[in-house]
Symmetry: C2
Subunit: 458 residues, 2 copies
């Protein structure tokens, strides 16, 4: 089981305690998630906040950092002989906790008592937003229905987790490289007559063999214009594009996240190649612009403008590309953001609320279509790790809806667009670290230029 050196966790907890200054910080670990009855479970995934501060990759634990009384306690119950018959021997709770620098442990039944005593002392209890039903119920029991997540704790944790350490970046890069293997496997296999399901299965095999699990559900589809397409129901034909958005996490649970759009047959069609070259040009320019001090909103709007310029060349857009971008008109072709923070979660800390992670403190999101999907907009700082993933899509329902509503007729040539409704969608995604000097591409090179893709398919 992976863990960083004990000192890493001790330092993270000390830093958090100092930043918070007072209060009781409550962290509930995950249990297994039931599939179709209580004991039939999905693969266990520990909560990322719990992993970050305690590194304990075991089910059914909780922990408290009692800042006021300078105490850190892990709560959990030892296995019975019945448990051991089914799940094997494990270290004791005390041994597990000691390995990450926590010397005090108590049975789970003590957690409620500890919290009740703290509340009686008027200590404030801080916790981050839960995302599993089980944890929501547990929090209700422990704290009552009215308890609310702590914005202060969210801000402090987001600050810490947004700045990746060298040892975190090392793990991320391992996961990116497993993710890359998954993409190379798809490139190697894909050909007309295969199914999305067969490719997705082969990608899973590489992920499970080399990594721990998917960092998110694989998207593997010839309908890339549906952004989160998890059906795997189509047969792949010559002339189709296959969009693969797939990533692994290794046993440290840091994520990789890559997207490749490949031709199913021997080559892209001429029309596909035109759009693909706009995409890759946009990707290259966006990636090149990553540096401390620029906002990712600016990188995003520049990418939109670049796409608008390219589509203008194809007669699909008109007017000033930057004006089209700032107005939100390019959201028709790229309705998602340029990227998102990545770490222990592939959308890092999305359960904290993406505005608290990807925007400056106190900022609100621009609610306009397209802009509202920007997960990351803030000024970039060294240590940030995130994706750069421009896409170009032709979404029939969106085209019809905007056309009917007369939206952005000054920027979009709807008449010409009709002939493109069967085009599908494409995206290229890779992972970046902001360095003091600019940026570093994470992981080995993944094919993205036309020639690289065709070479990898051979």
């Amino acid at each position: 089981m992976f863990s960083f050196p004990k000192q890493t966790y001790v330092e993270r907890r000390e830093r958090l305690s100092q930043a918070m200054g007072s209060g009781l910080l409550l962290f509930l670990g995950n249990g297994v998630a039931s599939m179709n009855y209580p004991d039939n479970n999905y693969i266990f995934r520990q909560d990322s906040t719990f992993l970050y501060l305690f590194g304990l990759d075991y089910e059914n634990l909780a922990a408290i950092i009692d800042v006021d009384n300078n105490k850190t306690i892990v709560f959990g119950d030892e296995l019975t002989i019945d448990d051991i018959v089914w799940t094997g021997v494990q270290p004791t709770i005390r041994e597990k906790a000691a390995a990450v620098g926590v010397t005090e442990t108590r049975p789970m039944s003590e957690l409620q008592k500890y919290i009740d005593a703290a509340k009686a002392q008027k200590q404030q209890v801080h916790f981050v937003p839960p995302y599993r039903g089980h944890t929501k119920l547990w929090l209700q029991e422990l704290l009552g229905k009215e308890a609310q997540p702590s914005l202060e704790l969210i801000y402090e944790l987001a600050d810490m987790r947004n700045h990746k350490s060298a040892e975190e970046i090392e793990q991320i890069e391992l996961s990116v490289n497993v993710s890359r293997q998954m993409h190379l496997r798809a490139l190697e296999l894909v050909r007309p007559g295969m199914t999305e399901k067969q490719i997705a299965a082969a990608v899973a095999e590489v992920c499970y063999r080399e990594g721990y699990y998917f960092s998110f559900p694989t998207i593997c589809t010839n309908h890339g214009e549906t952004l989160h397409n998890h059906g795997y129901i189509h047969e792949l034909k010559d002339g189709d594009l296959l969009l693969l958005d797939a990533g692994a996490e290794n046993d440290s649970h840091y994520a990789g996240d890559l997207t490749t759009t490949m031709p199913v047959g021997k080559d892209y069609t001429a029309r596909q190649k035109e759009v693909y070259n706009i995409l890759i040009d946009t990707y290259r320019k966006a990636a090149a612009s990553i540096r401390p001090g620029i906002t990712y909103r600016e990188c995003h709007v520049n990418a939109w403008a670049n796409i608008a310029e390219g589509l203008k060349g194809l007669g699909l857009m008109k007017g000033d590309p930057m004006e089209a971008a700032e107005a939100g008109a390019v959201a028709m072709f790229m309705p998602h953001g340029l990227g998102h923070m990545m770490g222990l979660d592939v959308h890092d800390m999305e359960n904290y609320g993406e505005v608290h992670v990807g925007y400056p403190r106190g900022a609100e999101k621009d609610k306009r279509f397209g802009f509202a999907s920007l997960r990351l907009a803030r000024t970039l700082e060294p240590g940030f790790v995130f994706t750069c993933e421009p896409g170009i899509y032709f979404i029939p329902d969106l085209i019809d809806q905007w056309r009917a509503a007369g939206k952005f007729t000054e920027f979009i040539n709807y008449d010409k667009l009709e002939a493109w409704k069967d085009f599908g969608g494409m995206r290229n995604e890779e992972d970046y670290l902001v360095t003091p000097e600019g940026h570093r591409h994470l992981g080995e090179n993944k094919p993205c230029e036309v020639e690289q893709i065709l070479e990898a398919k051979k």
Copy 2:
């Protein structure tokens, strides 16, 4: 998306309504289950009760059968354009419901109103036990914290679902055959120097390519004595056994469930072969005894006695084998039951409570170690589908604990057993249908005899 003909669901609901006679039957479908933040999800698995009665394999639906007012209503919300951009176009709720014979649909916001009105009319609301935190919270909101599952509804549904129809058996057999392919793949690949993880990944590839998903988390380990070993952390060596317990469900979501215990190297060792032959002899006799009228408790105790007799031959047990079995002493070597019902859940309807499914109405379980793990004990009836899965394990912690407690010294030769603590464990599992005449083995033959296993490994 799979579904049976409309009439199948209509008939199931009519039969249930007639059996219940009155009341409001409430069925909550599943949503997606969050992995590490709200939108990062495990693969969607619909609730099996919902699938059985409504066949709608979509997220975020609910349904009511209002027996008193002869109404069946599906509740759900249509997709917005934002949803469509991310997940693609779907049929409307009305279209989905019509496909399974339900003509009335309402938005989800109407569900609470319908229930409140029914409660005001003193209608009794029936529901089956929830197993996901999300559903527990939802039920609390809809019905209040004190609402309890309905034993009457559990009994009626268990009666219906325990007797499989021809169309259900056809789906089960498809899933068993995918499961078989997974085992053949492991047999084909396994050799010294490989890891559990590599085999588990290859098995997953077959499952995803040919089926829909695992029917349960794969067990793939050289430590088969740990019954639910999901670690995949060991390297496989010559002389090791690999226990693979793996099954698929197809897109109907009916399960298959098979176990094979194979040598990692070219052959079983002499000691392994002795135990393995006892296991397969026990398996053959147990399977041969399956017929209407016999209790599965009897089949189980006979299997224990058969193992006791074999282990007596190896000097590990002593005394009368049947007495050892009835006393519970053989639970040392096989602490689980001979099998479990299998259908839309691999442990069919385990969320209803296994005593309500695998035991006669009103019966209680024998609480003794080993007996308490019998999931299926009742008199067998035509249409029952279940596993037959004897195992023989040497569990070091259990041996130590029983020895220290002086348990069953009249049946167990603890001195001899010391030398077997490193043996590991083995199991053979296949799936059976009870027919009026006796039984039918489901799916094509999976290798289980020594020669078949060695042949499949070539």
